[in-house]
């Protein structure tokens, strides 16, 4: 298998236009600051989220026609920071500050946070009602993250001290297949995509992902890349694991209802069993362990957990809202509508 390589997507506005025009030039020719960012809703802003996603992709993948040195170009990083600021501010508005009592036991606080998931019942809908096309759309959205599953959280590894680092590695080792590439979760997801007749190539569906889908990934990449947000990326992982096993059982059931076999459902069935293990390690040993080591970041751990639930709720609301209107939840349908 060759290394990751994506194509530059089509721009969606002035920010992504400015960025993509610069990226095909030499990094010596500096990228200027963005003209203006006046987004009413940065979380669902097509242009801002796409520009941020591609700026972050420089850390994950080669982009055809783009010099790899752009990754650490000071002008690129300044441009990226200008995109991050309104997104971070919008997330901070959505997430209430942690209460003092919650900081006394971060593990218990996380249990309380995930028990009040603000999102619509997407996994139940997929389990019982979704059409094949809707199910394929959900998989295409998720490929924005799942084909690099766990990578955003791995940025945190060198930032943690011994006990929480050991806990993170215990989770990540299993996520990455326990030393066996065919068990790697990103590989299992690619198998599921192929079994559904979708293209499992990394980044293949980039042009179809709406801004809110890329925002779910930009959130964790931003938390992962900034050391100052090490609490948030840990809280994000804990809440992700804690809200995974039950929805994944439902996704697997949805696929079985539509007649798909174990080669397609394996990714989901594996996550039921795996995340029932990971959620405990992530909540108590990783998040609780980090809070014990660094009490100053305890509030940010809970921020990361709440931010995940909020952004996932917006994403799920977008999918279900589109489907209720009889529309595709992607930027363009997977199967062109009959004329």
């Amino acid at each position: 298998m060759a290394g990751r390589l994506i194509e530059l997507p089509a721009p969606r506005g002035p920010l992504s236009e400015q960025l993509f025009e610069a990226l095909v030039e030499s990094p010596e020719a500096a990228l200027g600051p963005p003209a203006s960012i006046d987004s009413a809703e940065p979380i669902a802003d097509e242009d801002l989220q796409l520009a941020l996603y591609v700026a972050y992709e420089l850390h994950y993948t080669a982009i055809r026609g783009v010099d790899e040195s752009w990754e650490w170009s000071p002008s690129l990083l300044a441009f990226r920071a200008a995109l991050e600021r309104p997104f971070e501010a919008a997330m901070a508005e959505l997430v209430p500050p942690a209460e003092a009592a919650e900081l006394e036991s971060v593990g218990a606080a996380l249990q309380g946070i995930v028990a009040e998931d603000p999102g619509p019942p997407l996994s139940r809908f997929i389990e019982t009602q979704a059409t094949r096309e809707q199910l394929l759309e959900q998989v295409v959205h998720r490929s924005a993250y799942q084909l690099k599953e766990s990578d955003p959280h791995s940025w945190a590894i060198p930032r943690l001290s011994a006990p929480p680092k050991a806990a993170l590695l215990e989770v990540q080792f299993d996520e990455y297949g326990g030393g066996s590439s065919e068990r790697m979760h990103s590989v299992l997801f690619a198998n599921t995509m192929a079994g559904l007749g979708l293209d499992p190539a990394y980044g293949h569906y980039l042009d179809r992902w709406p801004g809110v889908t890329m925002a779910t990934v930009n959130l964790m990449t931003g938390f992962g890349l900034h050391r100052r947000r090490r609490g948030a990326i840990v809280g994000h992982l804990a809440a992700f694991e804690m809200t995974s096993s039950i929805p994944n059982r439902r996704y697997g059931n949805g696929l079985r209802r539509l007649g798909y076999g174990p080669e397609v459902t394996h990714f989901y069935d594996e996550h039921v069993e795996a995340d029932a293990v990971h959620e405990n390690i992530a909540a108590w040993d990783l998040a609780g362990g980090l809070a014990a080591e660094e009490p100053d970041v305890a509030a940010d751990i809970l921020f990361g957990a709440r931010a995940l639930l909020q952004i996932e709720a917006r994403w799920a609301t977008h999918l279900m809202g589109s489907w209720e209107q009889g529309e595709t939840s992607l930027r363009s349908p997977l199967v062109p509508a009959a004329a």
């Binding site: 039950i246 069993e273 029932a276 405990n280 108590w284 040993d285």
Partner: protein
């Protein structure tokens, strides 16, 4: 170990070959060189280094945990519970 309060990543005491840790309101995590067999001697197939055994009784993949304890409000501490009236 044996007090139930040692963290699973605590390296201060000698490491036994298998560790079983009850997690708060959750499953038993089993780490180490273990085998799970049913009464007929059939081995539970798992490639996972750490497994979670159901503690609430309601999992649909028993003896493994599937997260159902969160749906039923299962409560249990990590440390041993005191004898009633103790």
């Amino acid at each position: 170990m044996g007090t139930g309060t040692a963290m699973p990543h605590d390296q201060s005491s000698p490491t036994p070959s298998v560790t079983i840790t009850p997690y708060p309101d959750g499953p038993y995590l089993v780490r180490g060189d273990f085998v799970v067999r049913d009464q007929a001697g059939n081995e539970l197939q798992t490639e996972r280094r750490t497994i979670a055994l159901c503690r609430c009784g309601k999992s649909r993949i028993r003896p493994l945990c599937d997260g159902t304890h969160k749906l039923i409000g299962f409560k249990a501490p990590s440390s041993p519970e005191p004898w009633p009236g103790a």
